[in-house]
């Protein structure tokens, strides 16, 4: 008897899960706020300012989605998640969307049942060394001590790389990036390895950044992108095409400066018209209004503008576009067409 009651309760819970998962858009609209999972703080990608307003590259995605769906780029409840809590937060419905520089892998996509809607930053694991070491390639790091964050994929990548090149290393386990910086500066390790964007941000904080170099080898693929739960494809579509709208906007030259002018009346370029809703009914297909993409782009500018503002070459982090340039410029950032 007890068992059946328990199973019944589970079934009800499961059904409720199915029912609620199918209507994330309605939930978000009813709530009037988008719950967006971000990191508890990563330079350039997500950080609160002194007044508690979140800023950063990943935060830009959250704000664009909120603008597209709710019409207000500030209608976002940022839920800080750690590496350990992020997936349960998304799976349990605590957040509607996770924009937390999370690497797209098969197991996360398939086994954890998430949908990665795209890639907003192509990262890769790199090495930083002191210039005095005279090392110009990671393959010369035989016998080096390496500061490495434990429990991350970077640890496994490091082991693979050194084994493949038949050289040895001595790991210095660290817990956080801040600890890594301190250890590296104190000389506890010869080289510090983490995502290249993180290395650039770390190097920018040094008293003399020019004394340190990031080695050219990138030993892993880390496609970082926003993700949603399996089971609500409509919601996944909205997030995917909001990201694509930002990317297409850069490709087509729609910026926050000229968007008012371009959206005032249909122009010569039909794709711009379709994105901005002056032509066609793409917004309606997504279950949104015609101006959804316009609002998303106005929230923080197009992909290139968000990049430049938060992590681009003008910022202290000074990341070059590299792989993250538009496909015409030799990068991997590519949006399917809006039609």
């Amino acid at each position: 008897m007890k068992k059946t009651v328990f199973l019944g309760a589970l079934t009800v819970a499961g059904l409720a899960a199915g029912a609620s998962a199918a209507a994330t858009l309605d939930d978000v609209k009813a709530r009037g706020k988008l719950n967006c999972g971000v990191t508890t703080g990563l330079v350039g990608f997500a950080a609160p300012d002194a007044n508690g307003n979140w800023e950063g590259f990943d935060v830009g995605v959250c704000r664009a989605v909120a603008a597209a769906v709710l019409g207000d780029a500030n209608a976002v409840e940022f839920v800080p998640t750690t590496g350990k809590t992020r997936f349960t937060a998304l799976a349990s419905g605590e957040v509607d969307l996770l924009a937390r520089n999370t690497t797209w892998t098969l197991s996360r996509d398939v086994d954890l049942k998430f949908t990665f809607v795209g890639v907003n930053y192509y990262d890769g694991q790199g090495f930083m060394v002191n210039k005095d070491m005279g090392v110009s390639s990671a393959k010369e790091l035989d016998g080096a001590t390496v500061c490495i964050q434990t429990g991350t994929t970077t640890e496994l990548n490091l082991a693979d790389f050194f084994r493949a090149n038949n050289i040895s290393y001595e790991p210095v386990p660290i817990e956080t990036n801040a600890e890594g910086q301190q250890q590296y500066l104190a000389g506890a390790c010869d080289t510090y390895t983490t995502d290249a964007s993180g290395l650039a941000a770390t190097r920018a904080t040094f008293e003399d950044p020019s004394a340190h170099v990031v080695l050219p080898e990138i030993i892993s693929k880390e496609p970082l992108g926003p993700l949603v739960r399996h089971g609500d494809n409509e919601w996944g579509d909205i997030v995917r095409w909001t990201l694509n709208a930002l990317i297409s906007a850069e490709e087509l030259g729609i910026t926050s400066a000229n968007i008012g002018e371009l959206s005032a009346a249909p122009g010569d370029n039909p794709e711009i018209n379709r994105i901005l809703g002056t032509e066609g009914n793409l917004g309606e297909m997504l279950g949104l209004d015609a101006e959804w993409a316009k609002r998303a782009i106005m929230a923080g500018g197009n992909y290139g503008e968000v990049f430049a503002k938060n992590i681009g070459e003008e910022t202290p982090i000074a990341l070059a576009r590299g792989l993250n340039a538009q496909w015409q410029d030799g990068g991997l950032i590519y949006s399917p067409p809006f039609r």
Partner: protein
């Protein structure tokens, strides 16, 4: 015979002790240079202290208070070693209040007076419990001043009038308290003078007032919650004479539960319709920094002590089920690290509860930390119970006291007195353990320090943030430890 005498007939005048044994020199000789080994140790220690201070003080006193980023600090310091205090200047409010609305967002107003007022009221509420040296009148002065601060923060003409009235009342009561000394006042009371109400009344209201202040919403929900206790009390009082104390207790608990489950909603909405008093609602997500630590710490400390006492008594009970439950609970909770419980609160519960259940994350954490602290508290109190001579229990029985009276009048006052150092250690431990919530993504001071470093302007600042946080924690924990010593001194009644 000469009249010379060998016996001195009058006292010599007292002479001052030699210069080498009084004043600083004497003290130093007695304490620092008392022998060769000690002298060497003293000199070595002094050199060490000098070295540490010589390195620390220039770092500590660095003129970087107004800098806007780490690089600005470096420009100001110009190659010298020094702390970058600009980060504290810019972020101290965030470290204290987290994301509590500070009026910077368009359309919002500064709400931080609410945690401030709650913090002030905390002292007003605990002082009559913790110290009996402060007079009833002084306690009311404190309360009036705290309320005046609240009225001032609310602002408006009405608020200003309230400030003036409250402050005037505070001055009046304070003047009366100062103008009459203890003896005359005692005589007046003896003669039947009217006293101010017992400040413990406010202490009883406080647990319902603070959630209202911190989380906001309609005041009637919290009034309703308090009414549940009142109803249960009334039910027990009138029913226990009719149906006996056990049945009365069960019925009164049921009354309270029914009230809380079914009646609070209608009650609150009805009262809202009549007299809407509400504060802007603040979500738990906005809590952060020391405000979060103190909230979790105070709740856990305040609730874990009674639960711990009950568990300790349960563990010693002769009733099999009560004993088994208590032992099981204590041993289970003590056998599991706090961080595991926090993960259960933050992730597992999310999966087990039906989706869409909005079970506040901070409430979950509060429950877990409280249970954790209660299990430890139970063992500390059990230590006190075990240390009590068996004669005390027998004496209580011999006096014909029932179980609860014996516990309340004989056993607990002595057992708790013995356990004070252990209890306060547990309190301090719980308060410091609150930083573990940073691991489940809540932005307590340590979590915030990471978030602050994620601002490019302050990336790389480590010692200043940790130093500030450590200093704040030290202030709280050290005061708790001093209080416990005060309490031990005050309660020392024999056993010398």
């Amino acid at each position: 015979m000469s009249d010379m005498s060998y016996v001195r007939s009058e006292m010599l005048p007292e002479r001052t002790p030699p210069a080498s044994s009084v004043g600083f020199v004497g003290w130093a000789r007695a304490n620092l240079f008392n022998g060769i080994v000690n002298s060497i140790l003293t000199i070595v220690s002094l050199v060490l202290i000098f070295l540490v201070l010589a390195a620390l003080l220039p770092w500590l006193f660095s003129p970087t208070w107004n800098s806007g980023s780490l690089n600005e600090c470096r420009d100001i310091l110009n190659g010298h070693e020094g702390a970058c205090w600009g980060v504290i200047n810019e972020r101290w409010e965030q470290l204290l209040y987290g994301f509590y609305p500070n009026g910077s967002e368009a359309g919002s107003i500064d709400q931080r007076w609410r945690p401030n007022l709650a913090f002030l009221l905390l002292f007003v509420a605990v002082i009559p419990v913790l110290f009996n040296m402060i007079s009833r009148r002084m306690n009311w002065v404190l309360l009036l001043v705290a309320l005046a601060y609240g009225a001032y923060a609310i602002g408006g003409t009405l608020g200003m009038i309230a400030v003036v009235v409250l402050l005037a009342a505070a001055v009046f009561v304070g003047y009366k308290a100062f103008s009459s000394d203890k003896a005359t006042r005692a005589a007046e009371i003896e003669a039947g003078a009217k006293r101010l109400p017992n400040p413990l009344i406010f202490t009883a209201i406080f647990p319902f007032l603070v959630p209202f202040l911190l989380w906001g919403g309609s005041i009637w929900v919290f009034v309703g919650a308090a009414l549940g206790f009142v109803l249960a009390g009334l039910a027990y009082r009138y029913l226990s004479t009719v149906v006996g104390s056990l049945a009365g207790m069960i019925i009164s608990v049921l009354v309270a539960i029914v009230w809380w489950l079914f009646m609070i909603g209608p009650f609150a909405s009805a009262m809202d319709a009549i007299l809407p008093i509400a504060l802007e609602q603040i979500e738990s997500r906005k809590f952060g920094g020391f405000m979060l630590s103190i909230t979790i710490g105070v709740v856990a400390i305040g609730i874990s002590l009674p639960i711990g006492i009950v568990l300790a008594l349960g563990r010693q009970s002769d009733l099999l089920i009560v004993k088994a439950l208590s032992v099981g609970f204590i041993e289970f909770i003590r056998g599991v690290p706090l961080i595991t419980l926090l993960f259960v609160a933050s992730t597992l519960l999310n999966i087990f509860l039906p989706p869409g259940t909005n079970f506040d994350i901070i409430l979950r954490v509060l429950i877990m930390v409280t249970l954790f602290a209660a299990a430890y508290m139970a063992e500390v109190v059990r230590g006190g119970l075990a240390a009590l001579p068996k004669g005390q229990y027998e004496a209580a029985d011999a006096l014909g006291l029932d179980y609860w009276k014996a516990q309340r009048l004989i056993i607990m006052p002595q057992a708790l007195k013995i356990s004070i150092p252990g209890i306060v250690s547990t309190f301090i431990g719980v308060f410091k353990d609150t930083v573990l919530v940073s691991i489940i993504g809540l932005l307590d001071p340590l979590g915030l320090s990471n978030a602050i470093r994620a601002d490019q302007a302050w990336n790389g600042v480590v010692w200043e943030l940790y130093g500030f946080i450590a200093f704040m924690f030290f202030v709280f924990c050290f005061s708790m430890s001093r209080y416990s010593m005060y309490l031990e001194r005050r309660l020392r009644t024999g056993h010398k």
